[in-house]
Point group: C2
Chain length 438, copies 2
């Protein structure tokens, strides 16, 4: 089957067979399909659409294009959480040890930050010595020993996705739900899960900003997960403001370890609330807890007893990191950084936050990547002191930028100030959990 | 303007501005746009469509991407004919000397054969010594001296087209009229013409087989030519059977020189008829002849006086070829070839011919190219002895295959036989001229 025949079929609005989709993905992996043929088909898919069957077959072909983890020898239920990404979205670092402490095995394969969003791998690497480059053997063995393991995607898992994503990014074909579903689910399904909880972000800092788009993405992923025999549910959560207090790498880990240590200041509460919500969903879905009350009670116990923190400490040790950060979280912070206040001009209520701009501002001071190959300064970041609905006076503080030199922050501070909209009337505070899709 | 922004606009059905189209074509030529970005936009254009304005701007940007010939110092009216390609379609070799003998300057930039269709450059190269690789200076000087010149497209003329066509061919985006129009017209308009006559083929051997598609293509090209200030008309001509008698390279030149010598057997008559029709259109359009009768009278005179043959002889001399072929056309034919008859099984009327299959059969014995980089055996070919509507008896001859070894022809002979459909009832013979678009 020549690439042109398959391309022409979708070009004219036809439905591709499982075989045609397999030939396409095989061609992507083998290099038999040229990049320009791949991008032509992807554009035709974007415009003409994929049916639910085609979407499932694309996910299957992408999944089967690479290695899948064999979890058949793991006695505990195997579960994971995946987020579509946001600003200050750090829940993985709370959820993984917490879920493990409650009796789940959590094989968490994560990504790096790009553009305005952070990435779990970058956050973990801000822990001195922490190694995310594991073989699948090491990965499983660490998970067996402490309940969870964290690593980056290997070249062997869903290799078609890496190539497809790079081409989609360069050809304006990223924001199409069936392609997003296939990209996310082909990687997650390779983890050999029993249960998967998806955290689909919505709002100004989310990849899909409109609630209806976020919900449709959540529904499509839940349906696809189910069709592969994995218990799947999704929560659509608010990303109309940064999650919790910190945006950055080291400072986000700092926030999470403080949560595991039981130190939860009001600005940090949403991070804990969303982490509990998602962990409870994992426990229920995997059958560890009968109902929500039982799940929340188990979570309370794992947190208050310090078991979740112990699991994280053990994981850090096993992955080569410095476990002292669990006892002295300040070790994560670079004391030499300059702290630049962000002040508002006028009095009023915080009515909206351009969360995308907040993410970009942190990226600009070195805390994130503009291009995939950029380096990241793990130490810098932004600590937000206010949330939507808060009342502020003229000249009052909304947060601090942490950076290396005073000049570094100038433009970022201006952008952050502009990102916070202030009005005279108090807005309704956004709900953290916008929808639950089962 | 990033490629992604322009791609996304067309992806969502927007109309591209002249500036955006220029940025795209500049990016194609400079290499700033990657092949996969070009093919993504071309697919979006194919599916979403181009308006008449966008089509004109695309043609203009492609034309302006390269060199255009300056014909301001040519005192004669400058005119050309372009055909969309077919099987046995050899009229250029009659029209160029004939139009020149009637007082036109004809700068004919031609192509090579590919797939089932032949190409003028290949036919010319079957004349021993004939050189189609000219500088534009040589090209103009030969045209000035004998009235016409023939060469291949240079890298300097519409360079965007070569790259775009190769990508379209590999990504199933060739058959879309506005892209075809931009491709053809950007090259033809670079010739600095006063008048252009287009021969759009229709039927089983044409690129666009359906009459309505052919007519729409003709209309779009006439409109585009006019919008660039070039007097343009189109004839939609029949390609439901090979044109004239011969299909091949040397044998087609042989047919044309015989026509210029006044030797016109019945099987060859359509080649002459179509050549006269197109030349007459060029003479009228360029203002050399007042009306059709005057044009035909001038053509009659140029043929019967031998002036058209003299112009061809002079051109062959100037382009390095052996002019003796004009006096002894048999010199073109390789006497060592084997002549294999193609016989029909049953009696009846030739009711239809799969002309595409005839072209492919000649390609298969070496007379054409499957891929652009293939070599061509100029000597081989097919001489057709029957036309649609002719009555044949069982075992009767429909034509001869000329090839180098007996074994070479076996499969081609079977395919040729199958290409001729025989029925009991006489069909209506197809009209040679199906439509005229002015």
């Amino acid at each position: 089957m020549r690439p042109q025949e398959i391309i022409a079929k979708k070009r004219d609005g036809g439905e591709l067979s499982a075989e045609e989709i397999r030939v396409f993905i095989d061609g992507v992996c083998s290099g038999e399909w040229a990049d320009y043929q791949i991008s032509a088909l992807v554009m035709a898919i974007f415009i003409r659409g994929l049916s639910q069957t085609e979407q499932s077959e694309l996910t299957r072909a992408m999944l089967m294009s690479g290695e899948t983890l064999d979890m058949s020898d793991i006695e505990l239920p195997v579960a994971d959480k995946h987020s579509t990404g946001g600003v200050g979205d750090k829940t993985s670092l709370v959820i993984a040890p917490l879920a493990a402490a409650c009796g789940l095995a959590v094989p968490m394969i994560s990504g790096r930050g790009l553009g305005h969003t952070g990435g779990t791998l970058d956050k973990l690497e801000s822990i001195p010595g922490y190694n995310v480059h594991l073989s699948t053997g090491q990965f499983k063995s660490i998970m067996k020993e402490c309940g969870f393991a964290m690593m980056g995607q290997t070249a062997e898992i869903a290799p078609a996705d890496k190539k497809l994503y790079a081409l989609r990014d360069a050809t304006a074909t990223v924001p199409y739900i069936p392609l997003i579903v296939a990209s996310i689910m082909s990687k997650k399904l390779a983890e050999g899960l029993d249960a998967l909880v998806l955290d689909v972000k919505t709002g100004s800092g989310a990849f899909m900003q409109a609630f209806d788009d976020s919900r449709r993405l959540a529904e499509a992923m839940v349906e696809t997960g189910g069709s592969f025999g994995v218990k799947t549910m999704a929560i659509v959560s608010d990303m109309s403001q940064p999650l919790g207090k910190h945006v950055g790498n080291a400072c986000e880990v700092y926030e999470c370890i403080n949560i595991l240590r039981g130190t939860v200041k009001p600005a940090v509460q949403p991070t804990l609330d969303l982490s509990i919500e998602l962990t409870a969903a994992m426990l229920r879905l995997a059958g560890v807890s009968e109902d929500d009350a039982e799940a929340r009670s188990a979570i309370d116990d794992a947190l208050s007893s310090g078991r979740a923190l112990d699991v994280f400490r053990k994981n850090i040790e096993l992955q080569g990191g410095d476990p002292r950060v669990c006892d002295e979280p300040k070790l994560l912070l670079n004391e030499k950084l300059i702290k630049v206040p962000v002040l508002v001009d006028r009095a009023g209520f915080i009515s909206a936050i351009d969360t995308f701009a907040v993410g970009k501002a942190v990226c600009e001071i070195g805390g994130g990547r503009i291009k995939a190959e950029d380096g990241v300064d793990y130490s810098v970041g932004f600590a937000s002191e206010v949330k939507i609905g808060d009342k502020v006076g003229a000249g009052e503080l909304i947060g601090f930028v942490y950076c290396r030199k005073a000049g570094d922050a100038e433009s970022a501070v201006a952008k952050l100030k502009n990102a916070y909209e202030i009005r005279d009337v108090a807005p309704a505070a956004p709900e953290l959990i916008r929808a639950t899709i089962t």
